[in-house]
Amino acid sequence: MSGTTISNDIRRLRFARGEMTQQALADACSVTRQTIIALEAGRYAPSLELGFRIADALGVRIEDVFQWSKPQ
């Protein structure tokens, strides 16, 4: 998977939510821990559904988690 134009604040929001572990977030979203690692590293753009699930697990709105930068 190549880099993506979608960035995210998953890492920051995890720590803001009582230092939630990657595994705990992965379990809450029914994905593997490696997918959370890839997301945090900006190596993977999630589907809309997974984006909503992550936002829900972190207790924030989807736009607080993901940002899209328009390609130049």
Partner: protein, 215 residues
């Protein structure tokens, strides 16, 4: 063996499986009285079995947890399909005689050794799934990686089929007579295996590249 830690026991059994596999590949060609190929097969199967037992007892390490189940399965697939292709190529000449596969003891023997590898692969894959029971084994990222890998695998298969078509289409009639039907059948099977191996390799590399970039 009892005094060793579970991890060291696993490493030793895996080494024994490697020795068994090496004997399996080369044993038949050594000028020795012992049936080394057969001993290698037995050693490989036994060592794989005990490795499985040791694997259950090893606590999950950080290194193991860092690798996605899909990546483990892809690398194991690369190793086993590669071994099956290697075994098929080493024994390719037994398919050359113009004798149906069912009536040629040499092809039956080759088929048995290749079948043993397939069974060992299935057993290992099943055991790993048991070890990961309760965990998420695949998600949308795995599906996307599998999709990209299968496209590459299909391309590799098509490339190989075109190669065989060109080979058969442009060969002299005398040369074509040397290719028996069992040999052509074996070439087609190898083409499928090559596509599968390439598929597994691309998947493993995509997982590895993501992991490396994230690390």
């Amino acid at each position: 063996m009892a005094a060793l830690s579970a991890r060291n026991r696993l490493v030793l059994w895996l080494l024994a499986a490697g020795v068994g596999l090496a004997l399996f590949f080369t044993g038949e060609y050594r000028d020795l009285e012992l049936p080394l190929g057969w001993i290698g097969t037995v050693l490989f199967v036994a060592a794989t079995w005990f490795s499985v037992d040791a694997l259950y007892r090893v606590p999950q390490s950080e290194e193991e947890a860092a690798v996605a189940p899909g990546e483990w399965q892809a690398w194991i697939g690369v190793a086993f399909v590669g071994a099956i292709i290697g075994a098929s190529l080493l024994q390719a000449d037994v398919f050359l005689p113009q004798v149906p596969i069912g009536q040629n003891p040499a092809t039956n023997k080759a088929g048995q050794s290749i079948g043993t590898l397939f069974v060992a692969w299935l057993v290992l894959a099943h055991v790993l799934k048991q070890r990961w029971a309760g965990k998420v084994l695949a998600d949308e990222r795995d599906t996307r990686i599998e999709l990209i890998a299968s496209q590459w695998g299909r391309g590799a298969t098509a490339f190989c089929i075109i190669g065989i078509a060109v080979l058969l289409g442009f060969s002299d009639t005398d040369r074509l007579r040397e290719f028996s039907y069992p040999f052509i059948a074996q070439m087609l099977m190898l083409t499928l295996l090559w596509g599968l191996w390439f598929d597994q390799l691309v998947a493993a590399l995509l997982y590895w590249r993501d992991r490396r970039a994230a690390g």
